[in-house]
């Protein structure tokens, strides 16, 4: 899902143009009610239920719920496997910072000397992977990664290198999965970076050029400082999305394997709930996820908030 690519700016809007109708009537609440009910029912209630279920031992196959207090949590934090999953989640975040934060920004900076029409071609083409379903796009990647008969190993063998088990060897599998999700999101993040660069007023660049700034100095001293709000936004969504974006490639390629080497926190929650039917443990992991992500979530919320122009 692509929904939160929103960067803050403030639009000047005087209080005088703000228009008021139907002050203190029920009308606005009626307009809002259907949407708020749907959001509450399918997002907030499940969130609260997850917290609640996390205090129970509950095998979905034998639906008897036993209250166990914090047992699910203590079980998690005494389980070495869980820490491995957390560590692997961190690897995904690091890889995403390279592939979906630094790389798109670098590519966007490279467009500076190019004509708009040329940039448009790169932009439309790089965006292509965003448009297709991840699990469908993954099919060709699975073939790329095949031990025999696939593209990558055929290439390796052609130049005399040994076969690599891209998805079967636990030292390669995580990177292989991450590569697919980074490929998928690159064009979208490139688009955001490009839009951020274009929002820099031309006068600034011209004034800096008149002052003699050019090339890398221009980028470092003038462009990057003005670009930093976009960079911040990109970093936040990169970190927030990193685990979500690997979710489908994981389900469609490795299912977390080989022996758990590609699992991350989000995918583990899914496995616990829907493959092992341990609802309590899955929910406890959900709560841990929310807590670990709360800083980022709050950060993202602030970025959103700055751009929605609350009424004062």
């Amino acid at each position: 899902m692509l929904e939160s690519h929103v960067r803050p700016t403030t639009q000047p809007r005087g209080a005088s143009v703000r228009w008021r109708i139907g002050l203190r009537s029920a009308v606005p609440y009626l307009y809002l009610a259907p949407a708020l009910i749907v959001i509450t029912l399918f997002i907030f209630v499940p969130l609260i239920q997850s917290v609640q279920i996390s205090f129970y031992q509950w095998n979905l196959l034998a639906p008897k719920q036993i209250y166990v207090g914090l047992d699910n949590y203590t079980a998690l934090f005494t389980d070495e496997r869980f820490f491995t999953v957390l560590l692997q989640s961190a690897y995904y975040l690091i890889l995403a910072v390279f592939g979906n934060f630094l790389l798109p920004i670098g590519l966007a900076l490279l467009t500076l000397p190019l004509k708009n029409r040329t940039v448009a071609v790169f932009q439309s083409t790089l965006f292509l992977p965003t448009v297709v379903a991840v699990n469908i796009a993954v099919i060709v990647w699975r073939w790329f990664y095949l031990p025999t008969g696939g593209l990558f190993n055929s290439l390796l063998n052609a130049v005399g290198l040994p076969t690599i088990g891209f998805l079967r060897d636990s030292s390669f599998a995580l990177v292989s999965v991450s590569l697919v999700s980074n490929w998928k999101m690159l064009g979208f993040h490139f688009l955001i970076a490009l839009a951020g660069l274009r929002a820099i007023p031309k006068d600034y660049l011209e004034a800096a050029a008149v002052d003699g700034a050019e090339g890398l100095a221009l980028i470092r001293r003038v462009i990057l400082p003005l670009f930093s709000p976009t960079a911040l936004f990109l970093l936040v969504i990169t970190l927030i999305r990193a685990l979500e974006d690997t979710f489908v490639p994981l389900e469609a390629m490795t299912r977390g394997g080989p022996s758990g080497a590609t699992e991350n926190l989000m995918y583990s929650i899914f496995l616990e709930g829907f493959k092992f039917f341990r609802a309590g443990r899955a929910s406890a992991m959900s709560v841990v996820l929310i807590v670990l992500y709360s800083g980022l979530i709050y950060w993202q919320f602030r970025l959103f908030e700055r751009s929605v122009q609350y009424d004062r």
């Binding site: 959001i39 439309s124 593209l151 908030e305």
Partner: protein, 279 residues
């Protein structure tokens, strides 16, 4: 900007190289789908094989109930898109044109809903749909998806409504239109472009959903969407001739969103970029 010709060529070369790498999977995807089935695994490096063969397409069209999957994907995507627009329009309208108590709190709540990781809501929603006996049905797939990115639709529409000239809505009110009429006869028609952009965005997103349709509809072949159907069709291809047919299926499954993108490329890119910059 003043730059040397060398810098320009270097930029072009690097960007061109990156673009070729990004497009490469699509080249192989299409290429393999048109290879003769028995040659898919033998000469892997060449993306295209000659003579071109449509055998893979014949196989997939024979073996896979494509019309059924296509129909399910269509109903699922259209249901979510229309539902979300119908919910988001009045909400965005209220958030842009009205002053009321708790407005900022409710708006904040809408934004918070966007930041909840989807995986947290899967299990409770699944259990809810099981209680409502909606598993393996299209309504079951559609309902929770209505909430999934609703906050974002409200948010994007509100941004557009906020920049819509107040003089026009004021004039309509002086002419005696009530707020319901202003919403549907003034604000909606005037913002059609923005609404369509948001709708296309939801449509593409929903069409490409996989995990949720798999969880809800995976139990019954008749409720597979295209993404689920293609995924489960050859559950365990590892070698052999199925790869060609699978690639043909993946090409066919990608076509609808691909075509929408080609036709509406400008609009889609600028909506996304606009959302990113103007907020």
């Amino acid at each position: 900007m003043i730059v040397s010709a060398r810098a320009r060529w270097l930029s072009l070369a690097i960007l061109g190289f990156a673009t070729v790498l990004v497009v490469l999977p699509f080249v192989y995807q299409v290429g393999i789908s048109f290879k003769a089935p028995n040659r898919v695994m033998t000469d892997a490096i060449a993306p295209f094989g000659f003579p071109i063969s449509v055998a893979n397409y014949q196989t997939i069209l024979r073996d896979m109930p494509l019309p059924r999957y296509l129909w399910n994907s269509l109903v699922f995507s259209a249901g979510v898109t229309l539902g979300q627009i119908a919910l988001a329009l009045p909400a965005a309208y209220a958030f842009s044109y009205y002053q009321f108590r708790f407005k900022n709190i409710l708006l904040a709540l809408v934004l918070v809903s966007l930041t909840i990781p989807f995986v947290v809501t899967y299990l409770p929603n699944y259990l809810l749909l099981a209680r409502w006996k909606l598993l393996n049905t299209l309504p079951g797939m559609i309902l929770p998806m209505l909430g999934a990115s609703l906050g974002f639709s409200i948010f994007l529409l509100r941004q557009n409504f906020m920049s819509f000239p107040r003089a026009i809505t004021e004039a309509a009110m002086i002419d005696g239109a009530n707020s319901w009429q202003i919403l549907w006869r003034v604000v909606t028609p005037a913002n059609v472009a923005a609404i369509v952009a948001v709708a296309v965005y939801i449509l593409i997103n929903t069409w490409n959903q996989f995990v949720w349709p798999l969880l809800i509809g995976g139990g019954d072949k008749n409720s597979y969407t295209l993404t689920v159907g293609v995924q489960l069709f050859y559950a365990n291809v590892e070698s052999g001739e199925e790869w060609g047919a699978l690639m043909a299926a993946s090409v066919l499954a990608s076509l609808p969103t691909f075509i929408i993108y080609l036709v509406m490329r400008r609009g889609i890119l600028s909506t996304f970029a606009e959302g990113a910059i103007k907020g």
